[in-house]
């Protein structure tokens, strides 16, 4: 337990480790992003403060290192910013600004790196946008309506290795799949539609009775493909696809969580789910061999 006190002037909304686990990026209501270098396990050294947003910064996301030291952030000000560190000078600068949304951008997430540098943004204006950062330095985006009241979060489907055998752009694009969740109590799975160059709803996950706050697609293909949705209604649902392709839901716990479920995220190997709730607890869940989800621990701080 390491204090990073005095780092931010207000509450931290997101903290993300980079690919190698050597840096921690935090984003805060004080409109800044801070980057900490981690030495060992106990030493978090503040290395950079990024300012540029005009509102609380909700989320940050590291891009795969093959693209360089790149960080995406999204804010209440309706913008998503892309930051890049110059390797020589270690100076961070904004290399792109994505401001097509009319309201707060609630989440940013990079696509699996095999698909290229693609950013997925969700916004309170009910729209989802997918931004392509092309090799030639240009960007292009597709924006579409996803959830009526607002889109709270999104998560990319993992890439199955066998399907990436063909590397041409068209077939790579067709593998784009992600799940979004919104304030309409739904989660939706989207798939790229090459004919209209947009994304079409592939499945609709209905089951929550209140806003779906977060959604996470298990990143690993090691186990079955899971989607976890955490909701304001105090429940977490685990979705799996049966043989016919239908998504089936399963309650993570029979009892409701004592408070709102804020975030959920899968471990790298995809077999542990961490759920953080309004009670400031992080609980971990694991599927046993009988297919039931059982607690693998709870961190209460």
């Amino acid at each position: 337990m390491v204090t990073i006190g005095n780092a931010h002037d207000d509450i931290i909304h997101d903290a993300v480790l980079d690919y190698y686990g050597k840096r921690l990026a935090t984003s805060s209501s004080d409109k800044t992003i801070k980057i900490f270098e981690i030495e060992g396990t106990e030493n978090y050294k503040l290395s950079t403060t990024l300012t540029g947003h005009e509102g609380p910064v909700w989320q940050v996301a590291w891009a795969h290192p093959k693209f360089g030291s790149i960080l995406a952030s999204c804010s209440f000000d309706g913008k998503a910013l892309i930051w890049k560190e110059q390797p020589e000078t270690q100076q961070w600068s904004i290399i792109a600004e994505h401001s097509v949304h009319q309201a707060s951008v609630n989440s940013v997430s990079w696509a699996p790196h095999e698909l290229g540098a693609i950013l997925l943004c969700t916004s309170s204006d009910g729209k989802v946008s997918v931004v392509d950062f092309n090799d030639d330095g240009t960007t292009s985006h597709v924006i579409f309506d996803a959830h009526v009241i607002g889109v709270n979060s999104a998560s990319w489907a993992p890439i199955t290795t066998t399907s990436t055998s063909s590397k041409d752009a068209a077939s790579l694009k067709q593998q784009r799949r992600f799940v979004t969740c919104g304030s309409d109590n739904l989660a939706k799975i989207w798939k790229y539609d090459p004919t209209h160059n947009t994304y079409v709803e592939e499945a609709r996950l209905e089951g929550h009775t209140d806003w779906v706050r977060d959604v996470a697609w298990s990143p690993s293909i090691l186990v079955r493909s899971y989607i976890a949705t955490a909701s304001q209604d105090g429940t977490v649902l685990i979705w799996t696809q049966d043989k016919s392709g239908q998504w089936k839901k399963q309650l993570l716990t029979d009892e409701k969580f004592p408070d709102v479920c804020w975030r959920c995220s899968w471990s790298l190997s995809g077999n542990i789910l961490a759920v953080s709730g309004g009670d400031n607890k992080v609980s971990l869940w694991k599927e046993n061999l009988q297919g039931k989800w059982e607690s693998a621990g709870e961190v209460d701080q």
């Binding site: 931010h8 509450i11 790298l268």
Partner: protein, 1240 residues
């Protein structure tokens, strides 16, 4: 100007709820909030003395459009069903609008409307005779009251002033009409007290002027006219500064359409006095758009302004402000919409949300003392205690609120302690925008809001009311923000999370206190504080008693602050100097008595009852840790760090935010173990080794890092692999026999084999019941048996120090094996590799024969020497009869050395029953590939089935095989039995005893399932096998089906008839994979995939293998184990190599930037022209500046090709070879280009 931006902003604002949370969500739970006013007022009983808060909300529907409201602090008597107020002061509201001016007379606690008085209708006016139409066309734009006076500014520039008599009657006393345009703002000039009558007031108008009026004057002309600039700059808001009287000044502030804040001094006016026009003393441009509202801080010379630029600025306007010349305001709050109205709260906010609930009751008790009988200043003094967090800085005490332009239906309450997140957000019940609001005075000094909406509803809110947390219209955004954030690290179960006490941010740092202190000295409020101080201290002690009581009853007492401070001082925090107290501190300190430094005594004593810090701070992680340690059987390696963690976590309290790295104590999550495994696991089968050996080696590696479960799994796999080999070998034997009989090829070797078969089988039978325990030394020299011995020993010694495996391929190795230690393990592997190489390379063509002969001779010798031992050992160790081991190992030799295999095929006779047999089975199963080693995927029963298949196909050799089987059933089947069933029996029993304590999680290959087979007598087994072989019909197939069988049936071409054999490699592998992928053990899974993919294609398909390997590679990369990563890449199954490489290696794209214009070289144009599709085209040429890239700085040749170009930091580039020559061979350290760039 910005309709567009406005709409954007308003939609932004609208969607703020989405983020800030749950303005709407609780609607589903609580619909009470929308109930009409009548219900409140009618239900309300007259229990006023105790301030019953149950009906704290008041809703009143005005019939007409209302625009403005003000509070009338004047006692009205003789109200219908009214009652005399205890406090002598009653609070009423004046609501103004289009042809609308009403007094809503409220009861004492402002929960009921006792009477509403229509001021316009009942006013008697001294102008009545002259202006009979006074009651018409009164578009009241703004209303201001003071004492018994109501001033109403009209949109046509008129100002009407009314006097209210205690009986509620009103009369129009003055009409001022000097303004040319709409009156936007009115303010009385007072000394701050609302009880002294005041005759002076100011008015700000759209015409750009502020005029000072005297009510006593009969002259309808203003006393003074103030213009902020020569051209008219509409006054949006103006206010007289009540603090200015302290300095014997009359200061007026105004906010203008230009976005500026102007300050006027009436006593020392500047400007053209002849025309009674004063120009501002100071002017600050605070807002980029119009500034729409201002409000002066109740205690200090600070003003709050709000503008359409979505900002609120807090500005120190005092003369003494040293920084009054600076451009940016002292505090700026970004809101989510264009700000319409801003208002400071009348009363300080003593508590933050954190402790609101905890102490609410106490609060209300305490606050009953501070009723309105105290003067404004007294009250102010009471509230201006310097507390630790805002010592002397009352600026931070007061909340302020703003409402928004356009259709935003919220009022946002902020406090400077936390300027980024609103303290409260109030949404109108009807979702109609708010028109105006005020913070009313009230008898409980609680933070209340009176609002009028654009739907003409007057509503009151009590922000301090305890139940407001359930009020759907009031939300506290902070409560709706999660305070934790998790992120997973690159490990298998490592993550860290950031946690924080949300309320700890609500403070300022010490520096600002200091400066504020200075300010407060200068801005001393005209009041004799010493009078009140004693009172205050009394209050204090009282409060403290209560406080301690409350604390004492807290369920979870905490180590407290002292320990925290200690830990801080001990240097565990990065910046120990900057001490940041939490809100809970401020809970304690808000009550510290006086603004003066002398209060330090009390202050220090406060630290004692301080254990309120984060009462919930405790952590369960330790229990989790232990639990999972037990259940997972994790080892010293994984427990040591976690137990450390545990200690640290339970004793040290840090201030937030803090990062908590957590390492889950699951077996697959230990970095050192992971690295050891990644380093040492054999991921490919070295030459001269077979899969069995590799499994044993990996088992020993797993054992060295205390992964006993994995170790056992590897061993089981090895055993079952051996089992398969043996079975295959047996089949092979039969085949040889068949061949021999059929082709009449009496090969000497096979003959011998046959003889030995018979011999050892009989000895098998003889020794069948030999006790296992008599097993002494390992004697066999062949791979299979040898490893069995090794394994037996290790199994026996399980729980002790894991022993190295003895994987012996030949005598030499066997001789060495006695000296084996885990240290020399790898060495040994290399040695044995060398050995087998020498063996194999002696005579490639005859290698097979040679090997075989060699082993036979060895075998013979050995048999002669220790024949008894040998045979006993064989049976006792339950591995396999001698001869079978022999062939098995021979086969292994053949298959592990490709040369031998070729020779097999070229010399079909000398061999090679094995490969022949394989060919048979392949044809029958229609397998697409014919890899030499796939024979292991066929098990005994399968083969029998295949044989029968072949028989059905009338292939002659196979019918011979059947004949043979039938002809010598005893010999074959018994050997079969002893090989496949008996060993398992003994193994399974041992395994169950040995492994169970380690927590082997699966019971599928349990003794029960195998028991039946095991206990069968040889005869029975024989019969069973016979039956199975001979009576092949579908029903038989259906009787015993493992999941694997089913998988086979669904996928494979010929349905396989399988006896349920849980120890079979396929089923084992499948379960092992399933289990460890469930456990997230990528190392294990991927290693399995790498090793077994080729041979067990049905279990580990290409897809699974690819997934596993690429995941493994990804994790290796994340852990920066690039060497291992390359190793894994190189050991990939051949068929998948290309795909894997495509997935991983292509990830790194080298990009070049033009050395002249520094643009990325993409050269799309040239590519287009030349129709060149290559990505890497044109790295020596730049389209942008049409220049060739510089030549090699050393040899002047153009730099081409990705791998040969090296770019120096000075921009010069050259061929790798050239630069190497320059720098390394000639030992230069400067760039060859002469640019003095030094390379170190």
């Amino acid at each position: 100007m910005s309709n567009n931006s406005n709409s954007n902003q308003s939609s932004l604002a609208k969607f703020a709820f989405n983020i800030y949370g749950t303005l709407n969500h609780s609607n589903s739970y609580d619909n009470n909030s929308t109930s009409p006013a009548s219900s409140y007022s009618s239900i309300k009983s007259k229990v006023t003395e105790n301030y019953d808060y149950r009906a704290n909300k008041l809703v009143y529907n005005c019939e007409r459009e209302v625009i403005t409201l003000s509070q009338l602090n004047f006692q009205l008597h003789n109200l219908s069903n009214g009652y005399p107020s205890d406090h002598g002061i009653s609070h009423h509201v004046v609501v103004g609008g289009r042809n609308y001016l009403r007094i809503l007379a409220l009861n004492d606690d402002q929960s009921r409307i006792l009477q509403d008085i229509n001021v316009l209708e009942q006013s008697t006016s001294q102008f009545n005779s002259r202006l009979p139409a006074i009651n018409k066309l009164n578009n009241i734009n703004t209303v201001k009251t003071h004492h018994d006076t109501i001033a109403a500014g009209l949109s046509n520039g008129l100002i009407n002033v009314f006097k209210i008599s205690p009986n509620g009657k009103s009369r129009l006393i003055n009409k001022f009409s000097d303004h040319k345009r709409s009156i936007n703002s009115l303010d009385f000039i007072t000394n701050g007290s609302s009880f002294e009558p005041s005759n002076l007031f100011i008015s700000g108008s759209q015409d750009g002027s502020i005029k000072l009026w005297d009510l006593r004057s009969s002259n309808p002309r203003p006393v003074i006219t103030i213009m902020s600039s020569n051209h008219s700059d509409p006054v949006r808001s103006c206010q007289y500064s009540p603090h200015s009287t302290a300095r014997n000044k009359m200061t007026i502030l105004s906010a203008h359409d230009s976005g500026s804040l102007a300050k006027f001094e009436l006593r020392s006016p500047s400007g053209n006095q002849l025309q009674n026009i004063i120009s501002p003393e100071r002017k600050w441009n605070l807002h980029t758009g119009p500034a729409l509202s201002l409000h002066i801080h109740p205690e200090k010379e600070y003003v709050l302004t709000g503008g359409r630029d979505q900002k609120m600025c807090i500005w120190n306007y005092s003369d003494s402000n040293p920084s009054s010349n600076r451009v940016t305001p002292e505090h700026m709050i970004n809101t989510y919409g264009p700000v319409m109205k801003v208002r400071w709260s009348q009363y300080p906010s003593l508590r933050s949300g954190a402790d609101l609930n905890l102490e609410n009751i106490q609060q209300s008790n305490e606050f009953n003392r501070f009723d309105d009988k105290l003067t404004y200043d007294e009250r102010e003094a009471l509230y201006s205690f310097p507390n630790s967090s805002t010592r002397g800085n009352s600026l931070y005490h007061y909340d302020f609120a703003c409402s928004y332009l356009n259709d935003d239906s919220t009022i946002t309450v902020y406090n400077l302690n936390r300027k980024y997140i609103p303290k409260e957000v109030i949404t109108s019940a009807t979702n109609k925008p708010f028109q105006n609001f005020i913070w009313p005075n009230n008898s409980t000094s609680s933070r209340k809001l009176w609002t009028v909406t654009k739907s003409n509803v007057f509503t009151t809110y009590d922000l301090d009311f305890q139940e407001t947390s359930q009020d759907a219209e009031i939300s506290r955004p902070l409560d709706d923000l999660p305070s934790t954030s998790i992120t997973w690290n690159n490990g298998m179960g490592d993550f860290c999370f950031v946690n924080q006490d949300k309320y700890e941010y609500e403070m300022t740092d010490n520096e600002s206190y200091a400066s504020e202190n200075d300010d407060s000295e200068e801005l001393a409020i005209p009041l004799d504080r010493s009078n009140t101080n004693s009172v205050v201290e009394e209050e204090e002690t009282k409060y403290y008693d209560d406080f301690e009581r409350v604390v004492g009853s807290l369920p979870v007492p905490n180590p407290g602050f002292n320990s925290t401070n200690n830990s801080l001082a001990s240097g565990s925090i990065e910046k120990p100097g900057l001490f940041r107290s939490s809100t809970q501190y401020s809970v304690n300190f808000t009550k510290s008595p006086s603004p003066n430094p002398r209060s330090t005594n009390t202050f220090s004593s406060f630290q004692e009852p301080a254990p309120l810090v984060r009462p919930k701070l405790h952590r369960n992680a330790s229990t989790t840790t232990q639990e999972s340690n037990i259940s997972f059987g994790s080892t010293v390696h994984s427990t040591v760090p976690s137990s450390n963690n545990k200690k640290r976590l339970s004793y040290v309290n840090h201030l937030s935010p803090y990062v908590v790295p957590v390492s889950l104590p699951i077996p697959s999550n230990d970095d050192t173990v992971f690295e050891a495994l990644a380093d040492n696991y054999l991921v490919s089968i070295p030459d001269g080794f077979n899969l069995v050996d590799v499994c044993y080696l990996n088992a020993s590696i797993a054992a060295t890092v205390h992964r006993f479960r994995e170790c056992q799994v590897w061993r089981m796999l090895a055993v079952s692999l051996e089992d398969d080999y043996v079975a295959n070998a047996q089949q092979a034997d039969i085949y040889t026999d068949n061949q021999r009989e059929m082709i009449e090829n009496n090969h000497k070797l096979e003959d011998e084999e046959y003889n030995k078969d018979a011999k050892s089988l009989s000895s098998d039978l003889g020794n069948f019941v030999g006790s296992y325990n008599s097993n002494s030394t390992s004697t066999t020299n062949y791979g299979g048996a040898g490893s069995h011995n090794g394994k037996d020993q290790s199994v026996d010694s399980l729980g002790k120090i894991p022993r190295p495996m003895k994987s012996t391929d030949d005598l030499q190795l066997h001789a060495l094996s006695s000296k084996l230690s885990s240290n020399s393990l790898m060495e040994l592997i290399h040695k044995s590799r060398g050995n087998s190489f020498t063996n194999a390379s002696k005579s490639p063509e005859a290698s097979n024969l040679f090997l075989r002969k060699e082993s036979i001779t060895q075998d013979d010798k050995l048999e002669n020497a220790i024949i008894d031992d040998d045979e006993t050992e064989d049976v006792e160790s339950s591995s396999s009869p001698k001869d079978i081991t022999f062939t098995g190992s021979n086969n292994n030799h053949e298959h592990s050395a490709p040369i031998a295999i070729t020779s097999n095929e070229s010399l079909p006779r000398t061999t090679t029953f094995e490969s022949r047999y394989n060919r048979y089975s392949f044809t029958s199963q229609r397998r697409p590939t014919l890899t030499p080693s796939t024979h292991t995927s066929e098990d005994l029963d399968n083969e029998n089935w295949n044989i029968l298949n072949n028989a059905a196909n009338n292939s002659s050799p196979v019918s011979n095989a059947i004949f043979l089987q039938q002809g010598s059933p005893n010999y074959f089947n018994q050997s079969h039995h002893s090989v496949s069933h008996h060993p398992y029996g003994s193994f399974s029993s041992r395994r169950n005893s040995a492994i169970q304590p380690v927590g082997f999680p699966r019971n599928k290959p349990s003794p029960g399932s195998s028991g039946g087979t095991r206990d069968e007598t040889p005869k029975q087994a024989l019969n069973q096998v016979q039956e199975e072989i001979l009576s092949l019909n579908p029903s038989e197939k259906a009787t015993i089906k493992s999941g694997l069988t089913r998988a086979f049936e669904s996928s494979a071409d010929p349905p396989a008839n399988e006896v349920l054999k849980p120890w079979k490699v396929e089923s084992l592998l499948k379960q092992v994979l399933e289990y460890s992928s469930q456990q997230g053990d990528v190392v294990f899974c991927a290693t399995l995939a790498l090793l077994f993919h080729d041979q067990y294609n049905a279990i580990i398909s290409d897809e699974v293998c690819l997934d596993l390997i690429s995941l493994y590679i990804e994790i290796l990369q994340r852990k920066r184990l690039f060497v291992n990563c390359a190793n894994v890449l190189n050991s990939c199954p051949k068929g998948l190599m290309d795909k894997i490489k495509e997935l991983t290696i292509n990830d790194v794209d080298l990009r070049f930037y033009c050395c002249w214009c520094e643009k990325l070289l993409v050269n799309e144009q040239s590519k287009e022209k030349l129709k060149d599709k290559r990505d890497e085209f044109g790295f020596w040429y730049c389209d942008e500046c049409s220049k060739k890239q510089s030549n090699c700085i050393y040899c002047e040749e153009p730099c081409k090709g990705l791998t040969v170009v090296v770019s120096l930091k000075c921009g010069h580039r050259g061929h790798f070879g050239c630069l190497k020559e320059w720098f390394i061979e000639e030992e230069n350290i400067v760039c060859p280009g002469g640019c003095d760039y030094q390379i170190l």
